[in-house]
Amino acid sequence: MHIKVKLFATFRNGRFKEAGQERQEGTNCRKIILELGLTEEEIGIILVNGRHASLDHLLQDGDTLSLFPLVGGG
């Protein structure tokens, strides 16, 4: 299946802003995150097609996954 991954803020460093990826059916958000070299603790918001999703969410062909880092300073 083909998915689109969009990265935001510091997640772009050394990676990309947006990229198309070929993945096996049954791939969840966690697998993509770990393969990007990110950790679960760094994740702020996960959106799939603009809606909040969990790490375990299974991606479908044509999905857009957006990842935002955790921001908590003041």
Partner: protein, 282 residues
């Protein structure tokens, strides 16, 4: 003795109350600056300091702002700018909450910090600053950390709470307390070039939704720190939300979060806390 209202009316200039007259009235009649300001606004008189608000904030709305009480939780990067802007806007009461003292690493961004007040409590600087820029505003400095235990006491009688905290755990406690007390909360957070802002009204669970994946610890700010400009941007957006909540106008950032990237100059709107569609019982 002459009536204080007549005293003020005689001293209007172009229909506005000059600060000198407000000050003179307070001293002559033994009133606080705040009491004189309220009397003026109640009688449709604009203190001259607010004249550039006039075409966007009516005198009745200026009175609403004056009669509101805003709690600013955290007086560091975000909080310093938030307090400055609330005082200049004319919010009548500010409750400033922070347990910390100023340290040298605050000087790159925290508006209330200066070499002269290193080692001094942040809330004390908040009081001094507001008294200097708008003496009609009453500041209640509280040198304590906000938590669910002291929250109800700290937020008693507050119109809006502004999140200017630097800890996700305390933010979630603030959100919980605001929900329990039915107080609107404006949430902002920053880290490096990045920040976000949203507004949570009573009954919403927006802040919990934003941090749904959080387990413990800090975000990107832990490594990036914060520069001079990011807190100013996010704090200003927070104050605009406070102004609109108090005045009941405009579209709030409700059920949506603005995520701001100052490095690539991008603003993204993220849906947050939109409740699942309810199945009709009929």
């Amino acid at each position: 003795m002459e009536n204080i209202l007549d005293f003020l009316l005689e001293r209007l200039k172009d229909g506005l109350l000059p600060w000198a007259a407000q000050k003179e009235a307070a001293e002559l009649f033994g009133w606080s600056y705040a009491a004189v300001e309220e009397l003026a606004l109640e009688n449709g008189i604009f203190p001259a300091r607010y004249q550039r608000n006039r075409n966007m904030i009516s005198v009745a709305e200026q009175l609403q702002l004056f009669r509101s009480s805003v709690a600013v939780i955290g007086c560091g990067g975000l909080g310093g700018y938030v307090i400055e802007e609330l005082a200049r806007l004319g919010v009548g009461r500010i409750v400033a909450v922070d347990p910390d003292i100023f340290e040298e690493h605050n000087l790159n961004r925290q508006l209330l910090s200066s070499p002269g007040n290193l080692g001094k409590p942040k809330v004390e600087a908040a009081l001094t600053r507001v008294n200097e820029i708008n003496p009609a505003v009453t500041v209640t400095p509280i040198r304590d950390a906000f938590c669910t235990a002291n929250g109800p006491e700290l937020l008693e009688g507050v119109t809006v709470a502004v999140d200017a905290l630097d800890s996700i755990a305390y933010r979630l406690e603030l959100a919980e307390t605001c929900t329990e007390l039915g107080i609107p909360m404006v949430h902002g957070a920053i880290g490096g070039w990045y920040g976000h802002v949203t507004t949570q009204l009573p009954g919403d669970s927006t802040v919990q939704s934003i941090y749904r994946n959080w387990v413990e610890g800090k975000g990107i700010e832990k490594h990036l720190g914060n520069p001079a400009f990011t807190p100013a941007v996010i704090a200003s957006l927070e104050v605009a939300e406070v102004c609109k909540i108090v005045l009941g106008k405009g579209d709030l950032l409700r059920n949506r979060k603005l995520s701001i990237d100052l490095l690539d100059m991008e603003i993204h709107e993220i849906p947050c806390g939109v409740p699942l569609e309810l199945v009709s019982a009929a």
